[in-house]
Amino acid sequence: MFALVVAHLAVAGLLPLVSAHNRRAAFLLAAVLPAATLVWALLNLGPALNGGIDATTAWAPALGLTLSFRLDALALAMIVLVSGIGAVILVYCAGYFGDSPDGTRNAALLLAFAGAMLGLVLADDLLTLYVFWELTSVASFLLVGQSGVDRAARRAAVQALLVTVFGGLAMLLGFILLGEAAGSYRISEILASPPTGGIVPVALVLILLGAFTKSAQLPFHPWLPAAMAAPTPVSAYLHAASMVKAGVYLVARLSPAFAGELAWWLPIVVAGLGTMLIGGFRALRETDLKRVLAFGTVSQLGFLMVLFGAGSRVAAYAGIAMLLAHGLFKAPLFMTVGTIDHATGTRDLRELSGLWTSMRGTAVAAGLAALSMAGIPPLLGFVGKEAAFEALLHDSLPAALGILAGSVLTVAYSARFLWGAFAAKPGVGPTPVHAPGPLLTWPTWLCALAGLVLGVAYPLVDAVAAPYATAYPGEDYHLALWHGPGLPLLFSAIAVVAGLLVFRTPLPQRRFPLDAQRAYDGVIAGLGRVATGVTGRLQVGSLPFYLGTILIVVVALPGAATLVGGVWPADQPLFSTALQLPLGFAAAVAALAVVKARRRFTAVLLVGVIGYAVGGLFIVDGAPDLALAQFLVETLSLVVFVFVLRRLPAHFTEERASRRTWIPKAVIASIGGIAVAGMAVVASAGRTVPPVASADYVRLAPTGAGADNVVAAIIVDFRALDTVGEIGVLFIAAAGVASLVLATRYDRRGRPGQSTPEHETDVLG
């Protein structure tokens, strides 16, 4: 299974080579792999439904990390959406993007996303799942932002990334808490023996944050309508059929174990119902067909959340049926919008008119899909909704009434979509149309018909849902088109009739007082203000202020800790060798002289004297490696200082500092110096047992590292990872110095426009 996921990513990496010759062919080639994945999954249908298939690949065994995958009923249902609809949409892309240069990027990114999403739904390990989860967020960011030229697209991409990654990080924390509480990160093992009590509710709430942000639940939903800035096939695939279902999928995955926990089901049901109602309501007020569908998706995601969070067997059946139904009706509806956009050049339902006659084929396919969305028999949407009413009427009447209200809105915006897209409107002339090609219409038809076929052939869906649903308590149930007269059928009828009535009623055009998008904007702007404020307070541009701040913190925190917890050594000798006396004396005299120095050059030389004296102390104490490094660094710093001094005035500030400035400076400096010296003495006495590590280093250096020099053995062998990290830091520091020194001269000269290329050549040498 890992090979299959990697194959997606590898082929995605090679696709630009194909795109260079033929962009259309690249999409068709990209569609092969998801299609093959679907075939592979269907060939493994038997074993997948009877217990599931496991596959594990070692990742970092020393850290206990494995890449674990598992194909079971829920994963199979998701693969139908991820790979099945993915393949169809990639074919549609060939028609939608045609030969436009955007095709190169989109073909590779969409296939890479398909791979990441496949990894996500197959993952049987919390950390594996997390890796693929974030990969899909990154793919979404790139696909929404596109070339980065359009400002709205960039903002939407950043919003999608910030919101989903914020949730993702919270989720990672939750995963770690859950994994530690369960003693295993394998999802199947956690489900088999779920941990309880203690930290578990906190972990669950954190995980739900991830699921809610990813699946655009209240109050995180605005990123999804904003992401409609992406090209329509991207919206159809990522923001309708697959990626936004990741949160629903995660809830569905973990619910069998945690549906009984209050911290799990209560937020899900409350947020889910709220999302379903708000999304449906907002969908009725939009005029862009794509945003109508986007809010419809938000609404349906809330519905799915409620079904999977409810935790009963019937609800699970309904959840799987609605999961499949939603993918199969929302993808063709988005593709319809793309086709209309392509054929007429607009998506505004106030401008479109008369498409029912000019685009009959597309209209019928879209009608089929919209009927499924509205829950009309014999489509799959009806099968799912029947089961949902049945489940919630049994579990909780308020939730059932909430779902009924949501369904009324669903019917209303379904009707509004069909009317807006295809009806002939009074006062608007028929929109001119150029006929869409078969690459645009056939994929739409395929998905819409699948919704009809699976609705009639409901036992197939039932067979996939059954192994998943049996994990829940409750009486047995089977999906069907006809359950006989009863409350669920009555609810379905009420939803249709009331929905049509709502559609006919003009809505009050009042602005909703609470707007989540404005809340998001406020949070981002607030972050910016806080950052500006803090930076303004701390970065005042005065070196004495910076130094003073650092010293005060050193005295206040580690200094206070030393005073409280440290012990002054009883046998602290003043010196151990006579040679230390002249060296220490030289350092002290130089330090005092620095304070009195008037010329910068003198001060630099005196600081050099201190450095060399310390190097001498290292030699006296028998540390030649340290001394060598100290001498070399000291020499180099002197040279660097001299270079820089050429640009600075020869003398320090001439006018005498006032008493008010120099007394506080002197006090802070003295206290800082005394505190550091005191801490050094206390720390050197802190060791109470002989150092085990040092003895081991000395013992192992000749045999383990082949070195006579223990210091070298530590640097390049025992603690080599530190060395690699440190040279990495040096690398960054060097790049920073070069950019600061070389790049700023152009900014100073103030020649905007020319600066970038010139300073880049300078920095790179």
Binding site: L628, V633, L636, R647, L730, F731, R745
Partner: protein
């Protein structure tokens, strides 16, 4: 030619050879990649002071990057032989003329450190030495 120029001409290669010696001896006595790199860097500083040339023949960022790359490859190479990252071993060979020679593979990591440090020092010369000189010339101070 100034006196400093003449001395530099003699010292520059000598100091570079000494830095290679420090690099190789680091495993057995004081030295190592860091110290050796600094010594080689100081040789370049000397040449810069004498002749004003800071050039290395290649661009300093390339040297820095090469150093980091060598260190990372040296860190990851053991994985190809089934050992953990950063593991080391002794390579011994009987070379003609030289006789038996052995080297600890951690030397390669040290070579990376050496290159990186040399690159950093030359980069400093370029930005703070030559760069500031050009700034001063532009400002009419030189």
């Amino acid at each position: 030619m100034t006196l400093l120029g003449g001395v530099t001409r003699a010292l520059f290669p000598t100091v570079l050879v000494f830095s290679i010696y420090l690099l190789l001896v680091g495993h057995y006595g004081p030295g190592g990649g860091f110290a050796a790199g600094l010594v080689a860097g100081l040789a370049f500083v000397l040449r810069h002071l004498a002749t004003g040339a800071a050039s290395l023949g290649v661009r300093p960022p390339v040297v820095i990057g090469t150093g980091l790359l060598v260190a990372l490859l040296a860190a990851l190479a053991p994985v190809a032989f089934g050992a953990p990252v950063l593991a080391t071993t002794k390579l011994a060979a009987d070379l003609p003329l030289l006789g038996p020679v052995s080297v600890q593979t951690s030397l390669f990591l040290d070579v990376g450190v050496y290159l990186l440090i040399v690159g950093v020092v030359v980069d400093l010369l370029r930005s703070l030495g030559t760069g500031i000189e050009r700034d001063m010339r532009d400002a009419g101070e030189l």
